[in-house]
Symmetry: C2
Subunit: 420 residues, 2 copies
Amino acid sequence: MAGESQNWVLMVTAQTPTNIAVIKYWGKRDETLILPVNDSISVTLDPSHLCTTTTVAVSPSFQKDRMWLNGKEIALSGGRFQSCLRELRKRACDVEDKKKGIKISKEDWSKLHLHIASYNNFPTAAGLASSAAGLACLVYSIGKLMNVKEDESQLSAIARQGSGSACRSLFGGFVKWIMGKEEDGSDSLAVQLADEKHWDDLVIIIAVVSSRQKETSSTSGMRESVETSLLLQHRAKEIVPKRILQMEEAIRNRDFASFSRLTCTDSNQFHAVCLDTWPPIFYMNDTSHRIISIIEKWNRSEESPQVAYTFDAGPNAVLIARNRQTAALLLQRLLYYFPPTSGDLDSYIIGDKSITKDAGINGIQDVEALPPPPEIKDNIPSQKFKGDVNYFICTRPGRGPVLLSDESQALLNSENGLPK
Amino acid sequence: MAGESQNWVLMVTAQTPTNIAVIKYWGKRDETLILPVNDSISVTLDPSHLCTTTTVAVSPSFQKDRMWLNGKEIALSGGRFQSCLRELRKRACDVEDKKKGIKISKEDWSKLHLHIASYNNFPTAAGLASSAAGLACLVYSIGKLMNVKEDESQLSAIARQGSGSACRSLFGGFVKWIMGKEEDGSDSLAVQLADEKHWDDLVIIIAVVSSRQKETSSTSGMRESVETSLLLQHRAKEIVPKRILQMEEAIRNRDFASFSRLTCTDSNQFHAVCLDTWPPIFYMNDTSHRIISIIEKWNRSEESPQVAYTFDAGPNAVLIARNRQTAALLLQRLLYYFPPTSGDLDSYIIGDKSITKDAGINGIQDVEALPPPPEIKDNIPSQKFKGDVNYFICTRPGRGPVLLSDESQALLNSENGLPK
């Protein structure tokens, strides 16, 4: 280890997307290594709207590993974080920054401490896969800092040990997490099925749903499902393998009808397994059910499905529209049923605002003037559910992790390695 | 056919209970004959609180078959009703009423028309298995009128063709519907596992839950599940047969812990299959989920389970308490979380009012004074959900069908065979 003084700080900043599974991961066959009972497939979400930014810094002056999440220091004692760090340190290589006159040899990494600052550009507790983006970003940025030579797939096997679904955030577009067969988990990793340009018609609208219920964490929830659900193994062994092949084909062919059917039925089956768990786990609530009914009714009124829905371990709906035009029609329907409680549309529909414009919504008066969707025209006047959705996020499939080389985007101070 | 004149009317009045399945029936292998994909087991509910009363009358003066349900005439064109009537007419025997001087020979029945009046002592549309009690009562009373010699099990195979779960209402206590193997359905019938005195500690409280959702009928729901759920066949073939044996043993031994676990998990699995249907079917709502959470939390705080829950094709909770003392504690919890919207307790808790007394509830002030249940004492003050339950029915396991010989209880006028 060499530097002009012991006060140098070397930093890397990266940005990593979240992802939403369209064929779900639910159940581990190995709790420590985080090895799943089935393959899963996800869509990576555009990091402009949902991402984690992480800065990792190393300095001989650091006394211990420290981490700040959204500006608040958090404990780093967790076994999962330590697993990732151990795997990365094993693979660390020589690093030289000639400009700064810093040289770190392979062996030095085991003695050096890290400072990590991580920031989500979306609410952490809203059930939007913040841990997937967070762990992926941690592994990716530390990997770059330590000059780890492994490719994204190999890095994904490390991120997997931090948070299972994090492995799918190492790529953009459409990603498959292969469950693997090896006992050591070395072949349980993510591969890219198609990049984000392959099917760039798709638009994604997330309804962040109000909830009065405390939710079961996905870690304990899936453990309980593995232990008690009599349907889970049948799903994992007999149903998912076929769906994985069908989903790969649907993505390859940009076949929205198949993609939609597989996405919706697999989400429903995952929640069915939760309900078959003892005690039962309910992630969806009446609002989630209502959104499903709205989409199902609309899809059935059209010649082919317009929108797919999927729900993770919480009540939020992730809605995938076949194209921008459909997304605008979807947003109109969502705003018709779930108008905002205040007139402030700007904080009610966030992300890609151009969809709101396409939907002809320029102010609260346009929401109030929305007619009932044509598919319910013969029914009794439908109810509205003001207050049942907190806000909507408009986004799309997006790219994988990137390095941010502009130091102004770093979350740590380059002088002392503390949060800015 | 002989009588002093053509104006005689011969009548029979019977009363038949509803039943609630503890191992669920969901899915037919034959739609016309109503043959199920698995065995099911039910508890018959006390007819004092939930039953159908039916009067059937025959007279040579009747021009056609007619039926009145809760005082309103309804069409009898339904194929299922006709199936039952055809089967009963096939088995009709000679009938003689010497006092009235009436003689009907076996052959006459195919020429005679019936008047039928049926009355439920509970709301028909509330999702309380009114069709099970109704069809069972129809078959039982017509069977008596026509002097059909078949026993209750054989009659159950006829009632089954009217409404599947009706076959289980031909017996009191604990009843098994054997799915059978024959193509003609002749061995798909109900048998009594134990009468209502076998386990008479049990107390049942039904929460009739408010719902804003239009529900899928169970007939179309189970058809869609059979056609689209990838979990249903696995449940029917691999899971239910084992549960049936375990449930029979639990009932035989009055083993509440096993009974409760089997009842709850089987209800949850039935709803899981509904969710795995495409499009998904939601029968439980947030209130149903809330009741489950309350029961699960309480059961876990005790050494052994106190209450079992089960839900049919709707949001209503059927709660089975291990004994009267537990039922009083259950009612306290239910009233704590779901107080009545008005002060009128008398219409809010119906059925066996003695449970209300046991719970120390003599007026609305006692409801308001209820402390939070001890199992939540360390938690933040819990929310209350006024208005989410319409009313409660307190009842118990009960007897099978009975004939009401007192003519004052008949629903038809003995002079003209029209509703009183």
